[in-house]
Symmetry: C2
Subunit: 525 residues, 2 copies
């Protein structure tokens, strides 16, 4: 399949004429052909208008057709074959196996949302029967959720498949009945085009209204902002930097009609080593930590960038074992030159922070934008006295903080910003402190995990990949897992609406065989 | 029970020393004793700190205790007896029967949330079993929702009981496990004190942490803004003007940690008279409309301020019958002098709008801040050419818009702002146009109702009292009905958390007997 540099606007391939951009190979630091034509304002306008026009016909389709569309996208992504993996490798420096795994994750995610659509629980179907004899009479009230409207999706650099053009935001928005306009990430333009065409083919094959999916190329600060400001757009999905996410939040909040932004931004994912957990973990724990820290060159949202422990011989042992494990890790190529520079700036900031000691570095030799892993150590006073040590350094760097006692550790936990994850290594003997820590971590993080590491986010029903600000812009949501669909829904109440006009989910004969809340009680079909 | 003018800060009665304010009788235009001491910054600080400290212990209580607390509040509100109704009458000008009905609504609402808490469906309990043999192994993942944290609630002037101190926002926030700090509305300070003390007594009787409830007096622009800006506050519930609501939205969005605001603001609640529906309704329809328009002196969020119909003899007949019905309605006393002035300004604005014809007025004679109802007529061009005719005039005023054809009416529907409700009067013969109208109205309103009037909002499971901006700040939510609790919740995922530390909702033995999603399937207990 040829990559042409064209955008996808409805059923058309459109050559953007507002400048041109090439993809970049972070391993060779060379530009890649072809040039991609960037969107003009008129292109964005057209994509948004088509999306608005597609909303009603798309959401009116039977759920089965919506589910089939998601499955068709999965098939079309697979049908691209090795060309997708090859192009993604060139554009991201990520290894083949990782990208193949990510493709499978993308496909699995689309299929999960097809199941979510068929199950119909996301509709929240609820019926309160009329009470004509009550004074005053109660009308017939029925609630079901509908999509918010067209969604703007910003592809993420660090998941060129699973959180990009046909990734979690797109899949969950389409599942909710919302058309999608993607702003492709400049870090993987060719990968985006391949996947965008796959979605376009699936839409055509399924006979969907053409505006259900479009994809534009352009700069986030201009085209991205225009997209978020467009009146047709009713919600935003974004994974990226805190700076980028908060800029979109400001734009969305200052629109004549403010809209929700789901921005997954920054998290240092603290790991708490409780005494018995640390003692039981030993060198295995250190190896697991370093593997998690350096996996994907540390370019995961859930990368463990902060370790809290109580001063002890065991903690010294953990640092020593981590040092050894880290030295054995080669320097990996980062996704983009910008991310690589930002990582090196972050490391430089750590290096110039008084009281923060570098205790380990990873291997130095690497290709292109190669990042050398780094581990630092400090005491509680240094950590508390330098609030910017909580700011994420995106990449394979972490800080171990040594606390003198339990109270100090709990206070520092209380001072943490919002996180995607918080990890506890504990054994039965740690029960007392773990029980004090857990309520704090529930308030701080979207996912609390024991005796593991935060990288590796399951696409499942119970997953929460979210958390209080600045981890995300909206702690009420998750961007991974089945309930990610909830982000793009709003409830509508139908009062005394004639049976023939009711949504299927709410009809008396329950044709979708949904479990519904009937007069306050959950009734299965 | 004596009204002293004291605030409620945790278990204390506190006399505010930042000035004093008296309540106002809108019927006599006289001030009422006693003076209420207004909150200083330190008072707000103290209330917020207590709320923050109460959050973990309060949310850790068994659901049964949380439910019992809500029921105890209901009992304590009833126990105030006639003194509550008498004081509310003096402060609001609302009639006794209306206030007694509203008290029952308040009590019913608290009891509904007690049931919601006991049912536990709001927790969204979801379990994905570990798959240790999968490569890579899947961990045990369990999701349940927890409260967002302390909630700031702004009492509404137009529901001095049901949407004030112990009203829907407070009840749903407490049900979600969130402490509440109320900013009492200055329009019913004495009523607020009586109810605030009832909540305080319930909290004491139930042995709850004292910060679970506080209430302060003060100006929205100073004390209200301080409250919304306080780091301990994690969400806001507000019912009031668009100006007030958007001011809180701006403050919440510009905090270091932005928080959700649930502001229910402004809606003109369009009523569509489709041809057969209009013909079938006749004079009964006009009477029903005028009753709904003038109920509570038009001071309902769901007041029908806009009527759309096709030019016809039947529409002329509707206007004529409405004119007659309106003339028979006396002038009612509005809630406050400010609301009365704003109503008169709105009427003056209508009066000076070229193309807008006044066709009817209600009776002129009334007591104090009495509002004379008003009905206007215009054609489609005037309506479309004057976008401010969509702005709510709070009170008993409405505009009938006469369209020349169906397409024009549908286009005007498409141009409507977000609404709490949209009403359709239709019969079987209107099926074709109703089917075109409904998808538009689903996008515009939180509740779509047929052959009725929008006033009268049931406290039920399927109710949605919400809608797209500017009806509310967050179309994903409802402020009335069982699912209002969802506003104050966020999901947390527990990964491999030891059984002894898991929330009850997620334990293997399912002690709460919840229906849970288990490996993607809904399982009843």
């Amino acid at each position: 399949m040829q990559i042409t540099g064209d955008m996808i606007i409805g059923s058309q391939l459109v050559r953007g004429n507002a400048g041109q951009q090439q993809a970049y190979n972070p391993s060779t630091k060379a530009q890649l052909d072809p040039g991609f034509g960037l969107a003009s304002s008129a292109d964005v306008e057209r994509a948004c208008e088509l999306a608005a026009a597609a909303f009603d016909p798309y959401r009116a389709l039977p759920l089965e057709q919506r589910a089939a569309f998601l499955e068709a996208i999965a098939e079309q992504v697979l049908a691209i074959g090795p060309a997708l993996i090859e192009r993604a490798q060139l554009e991201t420096g990520l290894p083949q196996a990782r990208l193949e795994g990510e493709r499978m994750r993308t496909v699995t995610q689309l299929r999960l949302f097809a199941k979510v659509v068929r199950d119909g629980r996301f509709l929240g179907a609820t019926i309160d029967s009329a009470l004509p004899d009550r004074a005053p009479p109660r009308p017939d009230l029925r609630l079901a959720k509908i999509g918010l409207g067209p969604v703007a999706v910003f592809g993420a650099s660090n998941f060129p498949l699973a959180f990009s053009v046909a990734g979690g935001d797109t899949a969950s928005a389409l599942a909710a009945g919302c058309p999608v306009v993607v702003k492709a990430h400049t870090a993987h333009l060719g990968t985006s085009e391949l996947v965008g065409r796959a979605v376009q083919r699936a839409a055509l094959d399924c006979g969907l209204p053409e505006g259900v999916f479009s994809m534009v190329y352009g700069d986030g600060r201009s085209i991205g902002q225009q997209l978020v400001g467009h009146p047709a757009i009713k919600a935003v999905g974004f994974t990226g930097s805190r700076q980028g996410g908060t800029a979109l939040m400001r734009t969305a909040a200052s629109r004549p009609e403010p809209i929700p932004v789901y921005a997954e931004m920054s998290s240092v994912n603290p790991v708490f080593l409780l005494p018995a957990g640390l003692a039981a973990g030993g060198a295995t724990l250190a190896q697991g930590f370093v593997d998690s820290l350096t996996m994907g060159v540390g370019q995961f949202c859930t990368n463990p960038g902060l370790v809290f422990g109580l001063a002890s011989a065991e903690l010294d042992g953990f640092v020593a074992a981590s040092t050894e494990a880290l030295a054995a890790k080669g320097a990996g190529t980062m996704l983009t030159a910008g991310i690589h520079e930002a990582y090196n700036s972050g490391i430089a900031r750590f290096g110039s922070t008084t009281g923060l000691t570098q205790v380990a570095r990873g291997g130095e030799q690497g290709v292109g934008c190669a990042a050398q892993a780094a581990l630092y150590l400090c005491d509680a006073e240094t950590f508390i006295g330098n609030p910017d040590l909580q700011d994420e350094v995106f990449g394979p760097a972490a800080i171990v903080v040594r606390f003198s006692d339990e109270q100090q550790l709990l206070r520092a936990a209380e001072g943490l910003h919002g996180q995607l994850t918080a990890t506890v290594h504990a054994q039965a003997a740690d029960q007392a402190i773990a029980a004090k820590l857990l309520p704090i971590l529930e308030r701080k993080a979207g996912r609390v995990l024991f005796n593991g590491f935060p990288t590796g986010v399951e696409v499942a029903h119970a997953m929460v990949h979210g958390g209080p600000f600045p981890a995300t812009s909206d702690s009420r949501s998750t961007s991974v897992g089945a309930t990610a669909i909830d982000r793009f829904l709003r409830p509508v109440c139908y009062q005394n609406v004639p049976e023939g006009l009711l949504p299927e989910a709410l009809r008396d004969d329950n044709p979708l065989r949904l479990a519904r809340v009937q007069d306050g009680e959950l009734k299965t079909a």
